[in-house]
Amino acid sequence: MAIMMPASDQAVLARRAEIVAALRAIVPGEGVIDSAAEMRAYESDGLTAYRQPPMVVVLPDTTEQVSLVLKYCAGQGIKVVPRGSGTSLSGGALPLEDGVLLGLGKFKRIREIDFDNRVVVTEPGVTNLAISQAVAHAGFYYAPDPSSQIACSIGGNVAENSGGVHCLKYGMTTNNVLGCEIVLMSGEILRIGGKGCENPGYDLMGVITGSEGLLGVITEITVRILQKPETARALMVGFAQVEAAGECVARIIGAGIIPGGMEMMDKPAIHAAEAFVHAGYPLDVEALLIIELDGPKIEVDELITRVEAIANGCGSTTCQISTSEAERNLFWAGRKAAFPAVGRISPDYLCMDGTIPRGALPKALARIRDLSEKYQLGCANVFHAGDGNLHPLILYDANKPGEIERAEAFGADILRACVEFGGVLTGEHGVGIEKRDLMPEMFSEIDLNQQQRIKCAFDAQGLLNPGKVFPTLHRCAELGRMHVHAGKLAFPDIPRF
């Protein structure tokens, strides 16, 4: 494992049998898993390059059990790693050797559907897609749609602040969650927010969303649901240069049009996808845009015309417009299958997730090409072009000595470039362990200390999911100490009125 995790607590490991017995007293029956064979299913998440079996797996099915497990672990100084469906692409649910893996998979019930208030109250183990399915009969859906939506849990979505193709128009998880029940590491159960638009006091829900399982364990979530748009149509537009495609994206936004989704693929990604799903993608273009417009039919038809004109003005070489749901789905099929398609042309790939300002797209692509040359590794690019979120897929072969290291160095350089161009390290996959050690590229020690003080407010012992997000761990007492700044004791010389 290339990344250092917190040192295992040997005293805890020595007491494993006693800890397992104590957890069995809280979660009876099959809810505690301690056999090496059965625990193997939990040794990794979606970032499969890293594996570590946990000390023990606990699968509670009530909030009270979660509370008792956490209270016990806090009292005994035992680390806990929460896990939803285990689809994290950044290693957020990677277990610790001396830690309890707390799985929320048994929290599978939707507790309430309230159409009048346009909310669903759900347990965290329910999948993202299941929420949409549960309200589809009334024309509603839950807007954020990460690619893993058939498998990923809504609890994990909140932990990671998941995005998806449609978040350009409909926002990320944080813009669609109203409240939660959360259990702190101490075992304390808190309820935050509810069916109203806003919560009183500091926006705790806002800081919990995207906190990657470091602040608490969520046991219930209230999400808002929307009416499905009347219709959706897509354009598939090819360009001879990547720059022209980038310009097209900028002009669409500049014209005041916010598409439901706006995706870009570069030539290697187009070829891989076409070979896999035969969506009819043009193979002689350098960049392909899939632009989806949704809303009332009259609006979609009008905007399709406007977007087509903009694309023509940017020198598009091909432009197809979907005339049926089947055709629209076909346009998307290649994009949605881009990751497995790339998996067919390369034994292994690393998926990166930086975000850049939209205008920096051509610059970023040129940099990626240079880096590809430097590291002698291929790279296929798919982007959420509308919001500047890049997913370069770095192709490598883990069986060839040195390739994984080169791929990781390539990926790190791409993320550094994202920050250099005014962007950020991760747009939707999270920091986890994958980008943890790159955090200083974006944040100073002061910035990171301020973030860690929030951690201290929720989990002063630092027992919940340690080793994720932050490259350096500080004790809370140290973070809370005031520094005397340069001995300046008087107000400086500034105008007073």
């Binding site: 309820r191 900028a250 005014g422 991760t426």
Partner: protein, 412 residues
């Protein structure tokens, strides 16, 4: 009263550091337009950030604007309007309600986090703050977030800063999302509905596929005849229920037609377009019927947030118990209540009734002596209050920033 008018972020950091060293709490102000909201602060030193007023960058094609915290909101709004863009959360102008002269600053807009009618569709200030630079109560300049919409790098401290009323950190620069202004707006207007029927009509509209961007109800009132912005819709204070559709012209008009059919059981809706529609929604956003200069100017005003479908039942009960006047926004999820003057501004009833439906009530306008005797902000459950205090102390352990603004001092 000592006012320190800082020239730049460096000055600001030094003032905060000096204040920490001297254990001297600071009241943070921009234009000071919202000083009347919250409790009187336990300090006689004012930190004025209004000179940090620059536009750092405005990139219309990136849909972002980066501003110093003291930038005047009025100037910023006209700048982005010139590119046909807006803050989609429709920040409220508190000046008419509070009787202050100006619109205030960007920093004040974020720190107060008061969103307008489009809150139900586009989110609040919290949803549009992408990044911030700020000075904490440790005297440290830190940044959080970034300049892109899609970002999950580290904890989202922007969410905490929005609506923190200056009690966590002093923002120096912020990056905000801007959105294209809709090409057209259409408002459907129903007359004469009681609160319960209006709530049902709003629920039907917001549960429809017609993408309603605002839904409000002005109950029958003897005090509204002279309210500006209502134009000939003001009538004689009869009840008005209004629903807004925005987008490209053909779409807004089409959806207005479809929605009118859907709402036929509630009466025949009339149509208000573009400028008249904008004026109507500005009136609701800024709560002009309760303006400080109007007939109800001396009445305390509450801002209640609740589950939208509970709005009418809650509001009707409150009006009956207090003799107050109401305005419903957010499809019933936001109630403005102006209540006849009373020593405690009817706080026990407001808190009890709002809390009972899972809502919360804030006393946004009241005389200072009233604010000394009741909690302005809705009291929180003990566990949440304790966690919030730990979060606050993680930014400002010596309570240097806006000490006492959110909570009454125990002595009071």
């Amino acid at each position: 009263m000592d006012t320190l008018r800082v020239r730049d972020a460096k000055d600001l950091e030094e003032v905060v550091r000096a204040a920490i060293a001297n254990e001297q709490p600071l009241e943070i102000i921009g234009h000071g337009t919202k000083r009347g909201i919250g409790h009187a602060m336990a300090t006689n030193a004012v930190l004025d950030v209004s000179a940090l007023s620059a536009v750092t960058s405005y990139e219309p094609n990136e849909l972002i604007v980066t501003l110093q915290a003291g930038a005047p909101l009025a100037d910023v709004l006209s700048m982005i309007d010139s590119k046909n863009q807006q803050f989609a959360f429709e920040p409220m102008n508190t000046a008419p309600l509070l009787g202050t002269p100006a619109l205030g600053t960007i920093g004040g807009m974020i720190a107060a986090g008061l969103a307008g009618p489009r809150r139900i569709k586009a989110g609040g200030a919290r949803d549009h703050l992408l990044g911030a630079h700020a000075v904490s109560g440790f005297g440290d300049s830190f940044k959080t977030g970034g300049k892109v919409v899609k970002n999950v790098t580290g904890y989202d401290l922007c969410k905490l800063l929005a609506g923190s009323w200056g009690t966590l950190a002093v923002m120096t620069e912020v990056t905000l999302k801007v959105m294209p202004k809709p090409e057209a707006e259409r408002t459907l207007l129903l007359r004469g509905l009681d609160d319960a029927a209006a709530n049902k009509a709003m629920t039907a509209a917001l549960g429809s596929p017609f993408d309603v961007s605002a839904a409000a109800h002005l109950p029958k009132s003897a005090f509204r005849a002279t309210t500006e912005g209502l134009g000939d819709t003001a009538g004689k204070g009869e009840a008005l229920t209004v629903l807004r559709l925005e987008g490209i012209t053909a779409s807004a008009a089409h959806r207005a037609g479809s929605l009118r059919e859907l709402l036929a059981p509630f009466g025949t809706a009339t149509l208000v377009e573009d400028a008249a529609s904008s004026a109507l929604w500005a009136t609701i956003r800024d709560v002009l019927p309760f303006a400080a200069s109007g007939a109800l100017g001396a009445w305390p005003v509450w801002r209640i947030v609740c589950p939208p479908a509970s709005g009418a039942a809650l509001g009707t009960q409150l009006a009956r118990e207090t003799g107050g006047e109401l305005i419903y926004d957010w499809g019933g999820g936001l109630i403005w209540a102006a209540l006849p003057p009373k020593d405690d501004a009817h706080a026990p009833a407001m808190r009890l009734r709002a809390g009972a439906v899972g809502g919360h009530a804030m006393l946004i306008r009241a005389a200072e002596d009233v604010r000394q005797s009741v909690d302005v902000f809705h009291p929180q459950a003990p566990g949440i209050a304790a966690l919030s205090e730990r979060v606050r102390a993680g930014f400002d352990p010596k309570t240097i920033l806006n000490r006492g603004r959110l909570m009454r001092s125990p002595a009071a």
